[in-house]
């Protein structure tokens, strides 16, 4: 097999995706940021509430967002709606302690693509991010 044939048969490399983290907890932001080293993600910034998140989103144009729901100023559900309006193709993983079905359904109907309950293990987080970016 010559070099050009080898290139044709090699699986296409996945592109790097830009990750934005939204959570009012510093511990959570740092924990999620650490996890991105296991995925095809490049961290571009973090925000502590929905208002900060929208401004950061416009500046950095992320492909993937992790979103807390209970935050001051603007909550996660409202922020999801606004972000999806700006970029319909964005992938959003809700990471929240609100683990009732009604909350999860509401977030998904507003445009979220996945839901991870707090607290979570590193493995659960890595798997949720991998699932979110599988087809990207």
């Amino acid at each position: 097999m010559n070099a050009s044939n080898a290139q044709l048969t090699r699986p296409a490399a996945k592109r790097t995706l830009k990750l934005m983290i939204v959570d009012d907890s510093n511990i959570m932001r740092r924990r999620i940021e650490r996890s991105q080293q296991f995925a095809q993600l490049k961290f571009v910034g973090a925000a502590a509430n929905g208002v900060e998140a929208l401004a950061l989103f416009k500046r950095t144009d992320p492909d993937v967002v992790t979103m807390d729901l209970t935050m001051p100023q603007m909550d996660g559900v409202e922020c999801i709606e606004k972000i999806v309006q700006l970029k319909p193709a964005v992938r959003i993983l809700v990471i929240s302690a609100l683990n009732d079905k009604a909350t999860a359904i509401d977030a998904m109907e507003r445009g979220a693509n996945g839901f991870l309950n707090k607290p979570f293990t590193d493995r659960q987080l890595t798997e949720a991010l991998a699932e979110l970016t599988r087809d990207a």
Binding site: I27, M28, R31, A97, L98, N99, D100, K118, P119, T121
Partner: protein, 148 residues
């Protein structure tokens, strides 16, 4: 009177946090009743409840326990802000469990955090509180349920 299932929801919300976030389960000591305001440890995460029940539920822990918990979570910043963050996250988990189990009968606030061993947690005077010791490694914290 507080029902056993209600108490169980709050306790599981707390122990669940240790089991998942730190990968090491916490154990429960013998619950007891206290008249007035139970004392707090260094950091306290509080949720206020109204609706079917009224009062507060709080998780209070010493700094040493929270430091080890942060270490187990691979965190190396042991600042005051992160201690507050951590008890807030535990309270947030208790709140999430309560919303799941009790639905809209309970109106549950966003958690707030206070610090200091004599923190004001606004337990209504004259009400008796359930105190549940939460033991983890060599440390002890308290879950206080003060609802009518």
């Amino acid at each position: 009177m507080l029902q056993e299932q209600e108490l169980k929801t709050f306790v599981e919300g707390t122990t669940n946090y240790f089991e998942i976030a730190a990968q090491q389960p916490a154990s429960i000591g013998s619950p007891y009743l206290v008249s007035g305001v139970p004392t707090t440890y260094d950091y306290t995460g509080i949720i206020t409840i109204s609706g079917k029940r009224e009062g507060v539920v709080y998780f209070t822990a010493p700094r040493a326990m929270l430091t080890v918990l942060l270490m187990k979570m691979q965190e190396n910043d042991f600042s005051h802000e992160n201690m507050c963050d951590l008890v807030g996250e535990v309270a947030n988990t208790i709140s999430g469990n309560a919303r799941r189990d009790f639905g809209r009968e309970f109106v549950i606030s966003v958690p707030s955090v206070v610090h200091g061993e004599r923190a004001d947690v606004s337990v209504v005077a004259g009400r008796r509180s359930f105190v549940i010791p939460i033991n983890w490694r060599s440390h002890s914290a308290k879950l206080v349920v003060a609802l009518k």
